[in-house]
């Protein structure tokens, strides 16, 4: 009998072997198929420069097989996303809650969290749940690896027994508990049913408690996001739970099915669908891929680590990714978090095969970066209101006057506000100061400008005619003065780019020195008429009488200025009568979308009727011995006009000041030499503030909260310029000029270094 049995055994062997020859090969896609495309890696934005205070994200804590590299997690970390504040429920075999690499992220077990044994102890008696939890949120603590969302918090539920098996009751009841815990944001399910369904009712028939409670979770006002593993049967359709997503829109809006790719040699022979993984199949619209082959994570019975394979491991990669996106963008609803992660997946090359990979490979760099353009919100509290306006960042600017730029810079340092991308209004934090450009007085202290001040002006008179009569166009140096009427004493001028003024003209012996824009207009003549750009118009109607008038407008006519000049004193110098040795100025200046020459656009715009009332005193006296004293002082009172939807919410009037004192001497030592000494304070805000109301947070109800930022516009110092100028007519055809300038507290900032300039200019005409 023994021999017979041996013979039968030997004879049956070929039959046994041949019977085993079929099967397999069910994983191929209809077109293309796994491995037919090129694996393209996502790009980590910062490369090896992505470091936090402790670790290089690419070091061993990223773990040697680099599943986090495959999804570009370091880019999300560099943007500050770590899962902090996000709570993830792990419905599994329980969790080793005291594992030293996750205990700090564990939420205490909730009542009834062990639905297998109907108690409150969701400890892990298998190992699977601990591994899954570690992939999501193992700590970033220089021990072992770390989870995708290493600051997320974990709720443990034991709904699968020690064999890794669960029932509709144990799993469904866990869903029922989770439904009632508002803090839980994401539910990871690294389990599934190897079955098919073809309608909502047939899917529900697969497990009514699971289905009903899952649907309930998805229909909450703040629904839970659920993540399911696709299963490991190498089939072209995923698990029953993933298929369910295709038949229930409430569920599919906040659910993701995850297939596994082999990441271990990404870029070489990996990156393709893992041999064991199911494909996305009919759940492709709600499906994506993540590394699931040989992932290192927590053991359940020690503080050690273990490698595991499966879509069970890919699912928590995605749960962790969702936690990062959710933390990063507080403005997104759970459905938008899901949509964003799916929409930003890498779907090129191999991953373009939708039936296999769904939306493609998870890409946490793209998911946490702006999609579309970044925009400011136009003052509304509602992100999705049809009337809410948005504006690309480049269209929101504020160029401040140097009269208060120092104060503004100091006040805005470290202040942040929100902007939103055009894809789904995901909120991004940006520095308020990024929209602001500081005006600067000191930046005008260039070599070119100093030389231009010293250059003697040559007069080339060209007579022309126009339709209205004769007048003279004088080409003076590099600019044009066009005068309708001009006389030495009775002064009436219409000018283009003309900073002439009777008072300035009369300041001998260095009138040419004042003709430059800084000293000629901004400091001495009228600091509230912002002429000098080359596009401004200035009219001066002054005479040696007791009354005169200056007007000003810019090229587009948006700014208008008017000043009345009272001349209680006047004198005669040679044949020329001066308009006034003492001039009292009263005026006003209207600026459209500006104030104090600070221009702004977009959400920082000001209205078209900001106005400054100003007064000034200008005084000139010949002291004898060729000495001339000159001085001026101005004070202004500016009302800022608020624009609708502007972040410049309100302001107090701004009090400003400027002054110039000078002493000039002709015939200095020699007849052909002149010298002057001047002290000047450029325009400065002495008092006043404005209130910026900027968006600083937004919530999943799509509501924006604004915060007030009160900015005191008085700078922390006072800029004083000291100027010495010397001029010598060497011969009739040659001149030598020299200038020494010393600037203290440039731009009214006590942190500015003193500036010193020495300029020499020699010119000989041949």
């Amino acid at each position: 009998m023994k021999n017979i049995s041996k013979i039968l055994a030997i004879l049956s062997l070929p039959l046994i072997l041949s019977a085993c020859g079929g099967g397999g090969g069910s994983g191929g896609a209809a077109a293309g198929g796994v491995g037919t495309g090129t694996v393209t890696n996502c790009t980590d934005g910062g490369g090896s420069t992505h470091k936090d205070t402790e670790y290089d994200y690419f070091s061993s804590v990223y773990h040697s097989l680099k599943p986090l590299t495959a999804v570009c997690a370091s880019s999300a970390y560099a943007r500050g996303a770590t899962g902090d504040g996000i709570q993830v429920a792990v419905v599994d075999t329980g969790i080793h809650e005291t594992h030293t690499d996750i205990n700090a992220n564990m939420i205490a077990y909730t009542n009834g969290s062990d639905t297998v044994n109907s108690d409150n102890d969701a400890s892990d008696d298998h190992g699977h749940g601990s591994h899954v939890a570690g992939i999501i949120a193992a700590e970033h603590n220089n021990s072992g690896g770390h989870g995708v969302a290493y600051d997320a918090e974990i709720y443990g539920f034991k709904a699968l027994n020690a064999s890794g098996d669960g029932s509709d009751t144990t799993l469904g009841n866990a869903f029922g508990l989770i439904e009632n815990i508002a803090a839980i944001d994401i539910v990871n399910n690294s389990w599934g049913t190897n079955a098919d369904c073809t309608s909502a009712s047939s899917c529900r028939a697969g497990g009514t408690t699971i289905y009903d409670n899952w649907e309930d979770m998805s229909q909450l006002s703040t629904p839970k996001i659920t993540v399911f593993a696709a299963g490991n049967d190498s089939e072209d359709q995923p698990s029953l739970e993933c298929q369910t997503m295709a038949y229930n829109t409430d569920i599919s809006a906040v659910s993701i099915c995850v297939v596994a790719v082999s990441h271990s040699s990404l870029g070489k022979d990996g990156g393709f669908l893992a041999s064991f993984s199911n494909q996305c199949g009919k759940a492709a619209s709600y499906c994506m891929a993540a590394p699931g082959d040989r992932l290192l994570s927590l053991r359940h019975n020690s503080n050690g680590y273990v490698y595991k394979n499966g879509t069970s491991m890919a699912a928590p990669m995605v749960s962790g990714g969702l936690a990062l996106v959710m933390e990063e963008f507080s403005s997104l609803t759970p459905a938008q978090v899901v949509s964003r992660l799916l929409s930003t997946a890498n779907d090129s090359g191999e991953y373009s095969q939708t039936a296999i990979y769904g939306h493609g490979m998870m890409n946490l760099n793209a998911a946490t970066a702006a999609v579309g353009s970044l925009q400011t919100i136009g003052g509304s509290n509602l992100l999705d209101d049809p009337s809410t306006s948005y504006n690309d960042l480049v269209n929101n600017t504020f160029t401040s006057s140097a009269a208060f730029s120092n104060a503004l810079t100091n006040a805005l340092a470290g202040q942040t506000m929100e902007v939103y991308d055009s894809f789904d209004r995901a909120n991004f934090e940006t520095n308020v100061s990024s929209f602001f450009t500081s005006g600067s007085y000191t930046s005008q202290n260039t070599v070119e400008n100093h030389m231009a001040r010293l250059q003697p002006k040559t007069m080339e008179k060209v007579k022309t005619k126009n339709l209205y009569g004769n007048f003279t166009v004088e080409t003076d140096g590099n600019y044009i003065e066009s005068s309708m009427f001009q006389s030495a004493g009775d002064f009436l001028a219409l000018g283009f780019n003309q900073s002439t003024n009777s008072f300035e003209n009369a300041v001998d012996p260095l009138s040419g020195f004042f003709n430059d824009s800084n000293f000629g207009n901004n400091y001495l003549v009228n600091p509230y008429f912002h002429a000098g750009s080359g596009q401004d118009y200035f009219m001066s109607f002054n005479s040696n009488s007791s009354f005169g008038m200056d007007t000003f407008t810019n090229a587009n006519g948006n700014d208008l200025g008017l000043a009345f000049n009272l001349n209680p004193l006047s004198s005669t110098s040679g044949d020329a009568k001066n308009a006034g040795d003492l001039q009292i100025v009263l005026g006003t200046n209207y600026e459209q979308n500006k104030f104090l020459n600070s221009s702004s656009t977009g959400v920082f715009a000001t209205g078209d009727m900001s106005n400054t009332n100003f007064t000034g005193v200008k005084y000139k006296k010949n002291l004898g011995d060729d000495f001339t004293f000159v001085g001026s002082g101005f004070a202004g009172y500016t009302h800022i006009d608020k624009a609708s939807n502007s972040y410049i919410d309100k302001s107090t009037p701004l009090l400003t000041s400027t002054f110039t004192l000078g002493l000039a001497k002709a015939n200095f030592i020699k007849k052909n030499q002149r010298i002057g000494f001047f002290i000047n304070q450029p325009q400065r805000v002495e008092d006043g503030s404005l209130n910026l109301r900027v968006p600083t947070s937004s919530d999943r109800g799509r509501t924006v909260t604004y915060s007030n930022l009160n900015v005191d516009l008085e700078p922390d110092a006072r800029q004083i310029n000291f100027d010495i100028i010397f001029h010598k007519a060497v011969t009739e055809t040659s001149n030598l000029s020299a200038n020494l300038t010393h600037v203290q507290n440039g731009d009214h900032s006590n942190s500015s270094k003193n500036q010193n300039f020495i300029s020499l200019f020699y010119k000989k005409t041949f």
Binding site: M1, L171, S190, N232
Partner: protein, 138 residues
């Protein structure tokens, strides 16, 4: 394919052996069965006796606190696509110095929900006077 082979060959041998061998049925002194999804645990699977260099390693992967003197034989099954599989010892027979261990691996029930990790079942046994071992699995 290999699973089919194991199952079919086991059935064949199992049915033949019942009348070929007059053996004594014994009970193991210690028995611990379960499932594990650690790659290191199941990458090398099959039978391990106490003389194998991997014996203690496999034991430690399940529980470092297991007393190694409590077991002298390990069987780790071929990995499956999910959890939910349960390995049990149907019977152990002894004929002279040869032990025959008959395992049965139960699949998850139809429509059951199981962890989606590659998983292998295992049993650790302690059998008195263990010498030669033949494993049968169905």
């Amino acid at each position: 394919m290999l699973n089919k082979f194991v199952i079919i060959s086991s059935l064949f041998l199992f049915s033949c052996s019942s009348y070929l061998i007059q053996a004594e049925e014994i009970t193991p002194e210690n028995l611990k069965c379960g499932s594990n999804s650690g790659v290191a645990f199941f990458e090398k699977n099959g039978s391990f006796t106490i003389d194998d260099k991997d014996f203690n390693y496999k034991l430690g992967l399940i529980d470092k606190n297991l007393d190694k003197s409590d077991f002298n034989f390990i069987y780790i099954s071929q990995p499956q696509s999910s959890g939910g599989y349960v390995l049990e010892v149907e019977k152990i027979t002894k004929n002279k110095n040869k032990h025959r261990i008959y395992f049965k691996e139960n699949k998850p029930s139809e429509g059951s929900r199981s962890i989606a990790a590659i998983t292998a079942t295992y049993c650790f046994l302690k059998i008195d006077n263990l010498d030669q071992v033949v494993v049968f699995i169905k």
